[in-house]
Subunit: 188 residues, 2 copies
């Protein structure tokens, strides 16, 4: 897939109930490990959660798409992700690195026909306790991964006077407004 | 360029003294604007610095590749970047979004035959004063952009017992050790 096509990637929140092969998950981590990071220090670690019992517990500690609830709330066993990749980071460090790694994984997922949802809204205490990462590392973000079970969201261009709130249309398709290059950029 | 090829992108610090066309720079911002961001709030803004007088002042407030100084210190008018993209963010917000946007821009640059260097080490007070962004926004990161004037860095795989410090070989080529997927990942 060329880069122009990759840029059409948008967040997926409904997933088919089908396991993602380990080789495909490794491709995502491979994209994360070569993402940009400060001083090449590579402080991030990754934990893949795919056993159904643990994935279910993680799922019940995550939140989705505040603006279109409850219509875009995945349901366990029906539309919920079966796999999560937890991004682990030392406390107070590597926040921008984590964003870069997640972005790289999302491109990798889309490139492989997978959908993904970057989750920053989760019960951090509960997830930390469920995953018990190595000492000094905290679960910074979760990435839900799976085969899409919703139509790919539609991107719309808006000016600075536009409303960036995403919304569902009557066909239950998500629309995602994005500010134009012109709206976001100044030249010096 | 397909995604496997894009993943070979590494940081470039020496640049040809040749202006990057505006259309190419717009492609980078286009990649940034559709990068993942929390709640689709799109809090980031971009400022492109390309007038030589201002670019020179910014350059003298940036630092490069601490581990291979002074051999990888670009020289103004010889190997220094002529263009910077400043990523602006509200104070204390959107740090991970900034990482995702920079990663997306770096892929876009590499896809267009451009090199880029994500700069987190700069004189923040001086740069903020030079660029005077709109009220409430701070210069969070700089991305140096230009046509590469160094051989593309070599990536090496290392285990967790390896040393992630990048280094220059006798041919002045940068080597960048990256931990393997196996080293970084646990499975649950």
């Amino acid at each position: 897939m060329d880069f122009a096509e990759l840029l059409k990637r948008r967040t997926i929140r409904f997933f088919r109930q089908e396991a993602v092969p380990e080789a495909e998950l490794c491709k995502l981590i491979d994209a994360a490990r070569v993402a940009s990071c400060g001083a090449n220090a590579q402080l991030l670690r990754y934990m893949v959660i795919r056993t159904p019992e643990l994935a279910e517990k993680i799922f019940y500690n995550t939140a989705y798409a505040a603006k279109v609830q409850p219509r875009r709330n995945p349901v366990w066993g029906v539309t919920a992700p079966q796999t999560f990749i937890a991004v682990l980071a030392p406390e107070g460090k590597a926040e921008a690195d984590a964003g870069a790694a997640v972005q790289s994984m999302e491109f990798a997922a889309y490139n492989s026909g997978l959908g993904s949802c970057w989750i920053g809204s989760f019960n951090r205490g509960a997830v930390q306790e469920l995953l018990t990462p190595p000492a000094g590392l905290q679960v910074r973000y979760l990435l839900a991964v799976g085969y899409p079970a919703e139509a790919h969201p539609v991107q719309e261009d808006i000016g600075l006077d536009g409303d960036p709130a995403y919304y569902l249309d009557e066909q239950d398709r998500l629309h995602v407004p994005k500010y134009t290059v012109e709206a976001l950029t100044s030249w010096r």
